[in-house]
């Protein structure tokens, strides 16, 4: 890329004469236009992915997440609101019973209305079970597309505007790149528009909340984060970070107690509004709550790249301990791993530290908490993508292994083609020619060394090929899954260790200046 700048200075009105000017046509109009272009492209990618198969396609009797979401629409538009979480003759909770908080139910209700308006058979009570049709799939896909467009996209725009304000000329192309990284997250696109879920809603609210915190609007942030939490209880992965950062900020104000109670008031208010239909009796609240806590399930499901699953090849956790003790064990481990970043944020809350805190806390949950899905990797990925500009190498490294950790799931769903296309697209846009950023000057990269990085990447591609083409030995039918999960786990630990250290190093005075410059 080095020779480019010289010739461009001749032709380009851009005064910097910098090497990134072929992006100029994309970014010269300002953040909003750039966002519009990248957003349209991201929508196109999503629409194209949605042509592919979904989880549980033509796979009776239980189907998959697609059927779960459709079933919730069927339940919510046909039954009164009090019965949504109650087992009854018309609501068999053992068949994809609603197990997300009320906001998900409301979202299903709205989407269900839309489906009923266009294609009533796809959501009729009882008869629509396992419904699969061309139109049905299309409408379901469009509900995800529209949720993405209405919630995640504006949240990203809000974040970018808050984060970068009015950027200087030379930073414009960096912002375009960051928007692309946020909107073209291959894991999120695969899970939402391929596998079929609505993570874009809860993650979108979370991004909005983060942007709220960064812009100093803590109350807005509180409300948005509570909405995220009420859409998917998994958003609690971010709770320690929000809590510690906001607490740390409040403690630095004039009336700490007043500030804290104001935040608490907004949290309670939002919760009360969302849970309003269930607040009429204690039983109904407990009924819903019991649906949300999946304690009857195991400590992990399938194969997930966290501590419990990775170490289970040596320690058979499920056999050694009872479920209750495992619960306490995992809770302790999670809290201990969250603590460092929480303490750091309470001690010296900073915007940048907050982002690292989000990453570290969500990673702690992913690695150590109870009942983690492979899809939960989306949660730590979110703060990593928000930090993409500061930590490009870590972000890329993390994204690659996050993709790998979902690969077995993706194979089951029949989404191998979009998997590779999206991975390639991500790497292409990440490494788009004509950028100035120094990508490799990173502590993780330095720690691993160039040779190791290449070696690991080589193994990375071999693993994909092996998993696709070879049959595992009969004695160990899940050998490849176990290897993949252990490889991913090791890389995740490296990433989170690095980020924990980074968060603490931020305190040093030399780094503070950098911090100011960024925010």
């Amino acid at each position: 890329m080095k020779g480019k700048g010289t010739s461009d200075t001749v032709s380009v009105v851009d005064g910097d004469g910098n090497q990134c000017c072929w992006w100029w046509w994309l970014v010269h109009k300002g953040t909003t236009t750039t966002f519009l272009i990248v957003g349209l492209f991201a929508l196109l990618v999503r629409a194209a992915v949605s042509l592919h198969s979904y989880s549980g396609f033509a796979n009776p009797p239980k189907f998959g997440d697609y059927e779960a979401q459709r079933h919730w629409m069927e339940i919510t538009i046909n039954l009164p609101i009090q019965e949504w979480y109650r087992n009854s003759t018309s609501n068999d909770l053992s068949y994809w019973g609603l197990d997300y908080p009320p906001l998900t139910a409301y979202q299903s209700f709205i989407h269900g209305l839309f489906l009923r308006f266009v294609h009533p058979e796809s959501v009729s009570l009882f008869t629509s079970r396992g419904h699969e049709s061309y139109l049905g799939k299309l409408l379901m896909r469009w509900t995800v597309l529209s949720s993405d467009l209405l919630i995640l996209f504006p949240a990203v725009l809000y974040f970018v505007i808050v984060r970068y304000g009015q950027p200087s000329r030379s930073r414009k192309s960096d912002i375009g790149w960051h928007i692309a990284m946020l909107l073209l997250n291959p894991c999120l696109i695969l899970i939402d528009h391929g596998h079929f879920q609505y993570n874009c809603i809860s993650l979108g609210f979370t991004i909005g909340a983060v942007a709220g915190v960064l812009s100093g609007k803590d109350l807005v942030a509180c409300v948005l984060y509570c909405l995220a939490l009420n859409h998917k209880q998994m958003s609690a992965y971010f709770a320690p970070a929000f809590f510690s950062h906001l607490l740390g900020k409040c403690l630095r104000r004039k009336h700490p107690l007043l500030e804290v109670s104001k935040l608490g008031f907004y949290v309670l208010g939002t919760f009360a509004a969302v849970w309003w239909p269930y607040l009429y009796s204690k039983d109904s609240i407990l009924e819903v709550l019991s649906r949300l806590a999946p304690f009857e399930r195991g400590i992990f499901e399938d194969y997930v790249a966290n501590f419990w699953c990775a170490s289970s090849i040596i320690f058979k956790w499920k056999r050694l301990f009872r479920s209750e003790s495992l619960r306490i064990l995992s809770l302790t481990a999670t809290v201990i791993t969250c603590l460092p970043s929480m303490i750091q944020q309470i001690k010296s809350p900073s915007n940048r530290g907050f982002l690292y805190g989000l990453l570290n806390c969500s990673f702690a949950f992913y690695l150590f908490s109870f009942q983690v899905h492979e899809k939960s990797i989306l949660l730590p990925l979110l703060p990593a993508s928000l930090l993409a500009m500061e930590e490009p190498f870590i972000f890329k490294w993390f994204m690659q292994f996050a993709m790998l950790s979902m690969f077995p799931l993706i194979c089951r769903d029949g989404l191998v083609v979009p998997y590779f296309a999206l991975l390639a697209l991500f790497i292409l846009i990440f490494d788009a020619p004509g950028q100035q950023r120094v990508k490799e000057g990173n502590y993780l990269y330095n720690y691993l060394g160039a040779t190791t990085v290449r070696l690991v990447l080589f193994c990375y591609f071999i693993l994909h090929i092996v998993y696709l083409t070879m049959n595992p030995p009969e004695k160990y039918p899940f050998l490849f899954e176990a290897i993949i999960m252990n490889v991913c786990f090791s890389q995740f630990v490296l990433v989170t260790l690095g980020c924990n250290i980074k968060q603490w190093v931020l305190n040093k005075p030399t780094k503070l200046e950098v911090d100011k410059k960024f925010i």
Binding site: G3, D8, L40
Partner: protein, 528 residues
């Protein structure tokens, strides 16, 4: 900007340029791969059948086989191309190339294989674009790549609907790039090859003929005549390589019959947005008025899309249109351009002339497909960055012609995709052109170096990339046409007049294409 300056820098720049070009191609390829499961037209089965025909049958049977209704009707080189592909298809899944069992085969293997070959054959387009743009300055290059490699029309026609236009237009661009460099013999060679791949490209043959005659075969009678012989011999050799074997087998008549099915009508099933739409509409209008006035006008029995059967005319008032009439009209429309090429055969103008020729063929030709608009939109993309007027014209033309392809993808599943493709293209073009041609205020803000000052002055006088109000109204009208056809018409009229939305699209887009034709014509006539 001096050419020498560029070329000295071009050397160190080329590595990076190539990397960026590959980047454009690969990003597009990712999207194309994602589009694998989308709707594909019967053309998909047509090409699969050709794979089977060329693989399972000897050359002597290629143009006789009638196992499938989709018989081979492309020239021999394309058949050889399919034959080449079929060897790989056989390795991947033998059923693809099976003549009977493969009929309407739609397993993943055949979809992935065929769609993959389209993506790979786009490398030809990539090379053509690279050859045409390698000496331009960096920003113009990127703009051209944007519009040619990421052309939404190619996505719609090649990668969803299914055809190999990127490959064919790539060869056209390679030919044009040789002509622009002054290497006429190679340019002529590639055009001859192109004609043996798809004969519909022959519309530009008169332009090529006049241009080569005047540009290549110049310099006195003796030298000119020798060169004419060389060129003629080369073209003849290419055609002999393609058609010779069939001539030898005595099948040439059968081949010609397949290539030119004149049993077809003036218009395709969906009327391409060309001149004949107006002709048909004025016929209908006249018939309506005359009937009102009390004349006895008979309703014609024949349709426009069917072939000519006996004496029955599809027109009730206006005279019948025959293939000969359309041929003469194309030649007539071409004549100003041919005259220019005769008077002063300038290499810089050849791309425009060829594009103009395809525009004429599209507007006045017999049984034109809406897809044929690709033949002139992509070459025009190459010249779109030259002046501000070009940019404005191309902006409008590319949107209109892309929109005219919308009826190709009529299923609901692809609806968001085609809309997003067009929107993305328009906003990229708009953003790109306004960066390339900034208005006065914007350039004043930019801290400029000394060497650019002169340019800035020129640009100021141009006033920047602003869409005029007529064009703006026209584009807004496009949105209204779409909303009417998609939502209001089914809502208000139900199933009545079901053909009306399509007809509306045809008429409305035909206006835009007519405008583009007139614009190109004036540009060519006015050019010094």
């Amino acid at each position: 900007m001096g050419k020498q300056k560029l070329s000295s820098k071009g050397v160190q720049n080329s590595g990076c340029t190539k990397a960026t070009l590959w980047w454009f191609y690969l990003v597009a390829a990712c999207i194309k791969v994602l589009l694998f499961p989308s709707y594909s037209s019967t053309d998909f089965e047509v090409h699969r059948n050709w794979l089977a025909v060329t693989h399972s049958l000897p050359l002597s049977q290629w143009y006789f086989d009638e196992t499938s209704p989709w018989t081979l009707d492309y020239p021999p080189f394309f058949a050889h191309f399919e034959h080449f592909l079929s060897m790989f298809a056989h390795l991947i899944d033998p059923k693809i190339v099976h003549l009977q069992e493969g009929l309407n085969y739609s397993a993943n293997t055949v979809v992935y294989f065929q769609r993959g070959t389209v993506i790979l054959s786009d490398l030809c387009l990539l090379y053509g674009v690279y050859r045409l743009t390698r000496n331009l300055d960096s920003r113009k290059q990127k703009l051209i790549w944007l519009s040619a490699i990421w052309s939404p029309m190619l996505f719609i026609v090649d990668h969803v609907h299914f055809q190999y236009n990127g490959f064919l237009i790539g060869i056209l661009l390679i030919s044009l790039s040789y002509l622009e460099e002054g290497r006429d013999l190679l340019g002529g060679f590639f055009f001859a090859v192109l004609l043996c791949l798809k004969h519909l490209f022959a519309v530009a043959a008169p332009v090529y003929f006049v241009y080569l005659l005047r540009h290549y075969c110049r310099g006195g009678i003796g030298r000119g005549f020798t060169r004419l012989l060389i060129m003629g011999g080369m073209v003849a050799a290419v055609f002999a390589a393609a058609f010779g074997p069939f001539f030898h087998l005595g099948q040439i008549q059968q081949v010609i019959r397949r290539l030119f099915p004149f049993g077809r009508g003036l218009c395709h099933a969906y009327w391409a947005p060309n001149f004949w739409v107006f002709y048909i509409m004025s016929d209908k209008g006249l018939a309506f008025i005359l009937r009102r006035l009390g004349f006895n006008v008979q309703t014609p029995t024949a349709t426009f899309t069917a072939g000519l059967v006996g004496d029955s005319s599809p027109f009730s008032v206006l005279p019948q249109v025959t293939p000969l009439v359309t041929f003469m009209m194309v030649l007539l429309a071409l004549s100003p351009c041919l005259l220019k090429a005769w008077k002063d055969p300038k290499p810089q103008m050849i791309s425009r002339w060829v594009a103009y020729a395809y525009t004429c063929g599209f507007l006045f030709g017999w049984h034109v497909h809406e897809k044929a608009s690709l033949h002139f939109v992509i070459p025009l993309a190459i010249v779109a960055v030259q002046t501000l007027e070009d940019a404005k014209h191309y902006f409008l033309l590319s949107i209109v012609s892309c929109y005219s392809l919308f009826p190709l993808l009529f299923e609901a599943q692809e609806y968001p995709i085609k809309i997003l493709l067009l929107l993305l293209h328009s906003i990229l073009m708009w953003s790109g052109f306004s960066a390339q041609f900034p208005d006065g205020a914007e350039t004043a803000r930019a801290p400029t170096g000394h060497h650019t000052e002169k340019k800035v002055d020129q640009r100021k006088s141009n006033g920047g990339f602003v869409i005029g109000w007529i064009e703006r109204m026209y584009l807004i009208g496009l949105v209204i046409v779409e909303i009417w056809g998609q939502f209001l018409h089914p809502l208000l009229l139900g199933d009545k007049l079901a053909f009306a939305p399509l007809m509306l699209i045809s008429i409305y887009c035909a206006l835009g294409i007519m405008y583009s034709w007139i614009w190109q014509l004036t540009f060519i006539v006015k050019s010094p």
